[in-house]
Amino acid sequence: MRNVTAVAIVLCLVLTVTGCREPKEAQTEGVFRVGMVFDVGGKGDKSFNDSAYRGLLHAADEFGVEHTEFEPGQDADRETGLRKLAQAKYDVIIGVGFLFSEAMRSVAVDYPNVRFACVDFDVRPDETLPQNLAGLRFREEEGSFLVGVLAAMHTETGRIGFIGGMDIPLIHKFEAGYIAGARHARPSVSTTVAYTGTTPQAFADPAKGKELALLQYGRGVDVIYHASGSTGNGVIEAAKEAGKYAIGVDSNQNYMAPGHVLTSMVKRVDNAVYMTVKSVLDGTFAGGVREFGLADDGIAYAVDQYNEGLITDEMAAAVEEAKAAIIAGSIVVPKE
């Protein structure tokens, strides 16, 4: 027994020493570096966080910037993690999700030379942001309106559903736009609405998403729009299982169940992230709240090889018409 232990210890030590590699951490001066901090659900949610990550990779690819990203394990780590990146002299630090709003506010003030951006920034009424903090917000209601038009034109039962993640004003925008769009296309359409929960974990509960979706399909709903992060993976799974339709959110999720995802309301978090990095590089970065909508391609609906069979010419025409009307201002989409 003693010999085995001794051998094991020696082996470990040998492996430890031989396992040494050149530290990749040693950064050269003058390299532009971007740090990204993820929300609940994290990298790999195929939705909101992944969209931000794509934007980061796009920028890294095009401008050759270095990047690092992490997902805070406990709430207190949000602020501490941001500070660590700022102390390490990262040039841009991007928080993905409104949960970073408060930490961003306090860290940005302490590091005026670092640029910060927060996706879905939870802006306070009458708040002025520091010059080095950009709050990136989206007019989700506009894109939701368009997918609502498509849902209402596609449904055979005349009943459509909505499944939101956390029950908060941000997600109410999705719901309100969706219902307004559906009514615009088909005033008689009936809607069923459900939320997964009241805490951030509501965005990371695929099992509950599937349960809620199956419940709605069982009641005659045949198209469900989800705005629920990785919870929506369960909704899409349910659509496939029940032979019904789901509408994806944030990222293009059409590929996740070809033929069963009617379309996706794409929130171009990737574009916003990419543009933020670009603006710092070319010196045009400005603090303050910045809104993205249909007009600047910050919001879109997805048509690709996985769903083109589901979108008829009539539907395509109607949705394009609505899009033009929203951009022109002749349709004003409600936010709640």
């Binding site: 492996l15 590699r21 501490t80 409104f98 860290v107 302490d110 908060i168 805490t199």
Partner: protein, 377 residues
């Protein structure tokens, strides 16, 4: 016997921690990284700067309270895994008190909120404590269920009743400013320690240290503490000796819950200054691990909490600056606990085999020896 038992109870956690680092090193190696580099970054994060040390203490602080809660109940033979629920209720009551009072001098506001925090935890723990004492219902099941109720209840209250207006984050407004516990950066600088202003370390760590002393005092210097330990070692014998077992169980649970509730001093009064829904993320459960590693003694809990504070602080550094996922640290913590439990069992058995003949001569009333052998049972 005494000395040997004391030696074992110190040796087994230390050996377990060392072994866990070795196994963790193999895990790091398996994912193609150098353990030396990763551990280097981990310890640099924790000890490489005054800021890091401050974060270690900040991260250890709630674990001290949670660990004391579990250890205290354990000494009475109760397995309180409801620390999570108790700390939520304690924190909520603490925040509520801080929102209800409009102006008060710090000398009154701070004690008021501390009492509210402890009372909230004690209140929540008293229910399974009472059920255990009155009906003999097992506390493990009840404390788990009370966790769900506490998390759900506080979540409901924050989202529907107390939420800060116009905000998406599920949190209450800030509590009364005079009830904030001061950060220690200023005091540290006065002592010549360059702790940055942004460091979240606050006066709650002093309350935690006082709680360690208080737990020690109650356990080893009061009649109640003696009764708690007696009931924990053998309830039937304690009953025969004239100890009111039911009363002792309820009181042990109350005190255990109060320690858990004091987590609020760091999370609500010291750091966030408000109640944030779901803020804990398992501090109460981590308390079980801390108590186990600390052998259910107050000083052991303090040391174990500091170790976990080091791991949590280093974990963030590893997470931010390497490709190794933070889950590695969770693996490390889990391995430590398993090895402590296994090591304790093995060492205790060996010890018993060796000293059994000598032990037949008389009962061993020593607290530490009693703890070491009692826990293995």
């Amino acid at each position: 016997m005494k000395r040997l038992a004391r030696f074992t109870s110190v040796l087994s956690p230390v050996a377990a921690v060392a072994a866990a680092f070795l196994v963790g090193g193999l895990v790091v190696l398996a994912i193609g990284e150098s353990p030396l580099r990763i551990y280097g970054i981990l310890f640099r994060g924790a000890f490489g700067s005054v800021d890091g040390v401050g974060l270690v203490l900040f991260n250890a602080c709630p674990l001290i309270f949670a660990g004391l809660a579990v250890a205290f109940a354990f000494r009475a033979g109760l397995f309180n895994i409801g620390g999570e629920g108790q700390l939520y209720i304690g924190s909520f009551l603490c925040a509520w008190a801080g929102l209800s009072v409009s102006s008060l001098t710090p000398w009154l506001a701070i004690p008021l909120l501390v009492v509210a925090a402890a009372a909230g935890g004690a209140l929540w723990a008293s229910i399974p404590g009472f059920l255990k004492a009155r009906f003999g219902v097992h506390e493990v099941i009840n404390t788990i269920m009370m966790n769900f109720i506490a998390i759900g209840l506080t979540s409901y209250l924050v989202v529907n009743v107390f939420k800060e207006a116009g905000q998406m984050t599920p949190q209450t407004p800030k509590i009364l400013a005079s009830a904030h516990l001061p950060r220690l950066a200023g005091a540290a600088r006065a002592l010549g320690i360059p702790l940055p202003d942004a460091n979240p370390l606050n006066a709650s760590i002093l309350i935690a240290l006082a709680a360690v002393g208080l737990a020690w005092f109650i356990l080893y210097r009061t009649t109640l503490g003696y009764e708690i330990r007696a009931v924990g070692l053998n309830a039937a014998a304690a009953e025969n000796a004239g100890i009111n077992v039911r009363r002792t169980l309820v009181l042990a649970m109350l005190l255990s819950g109060a320690f858990a509730g004091l987590v609020a001093t760091n999370e609500v009064m010291g750091f966030r200054h408000r109640f944030l829904d779901n803020f804990s993320g398992g501090i109460g459960f981590m308390g079980i691990a801390v108590a186990l590693l600390g052998k259910n003694t107050p000083v052991g809990v303090l040391l174990a909490a500091l170790l976990f504070g080091v791991l949590n602080t280093g974990a963030l550094e590893v997470d931010v600056f390497t490709d190794v996922p933070r889950e590695l640290i969770l693996v490390l913590q889990a391995i430590t606990i398993i090895l402590v439990v296994v090591g304790n069992e093995v060492l205790t058995r060996r010890l018993e085999q060796r000293v059994r003949p000598a032990e037949a001569t008389g009962a061993d009333g020593n607290a530490d020896a009693g703890a070491a052998t009692g826990e293995a049972a």
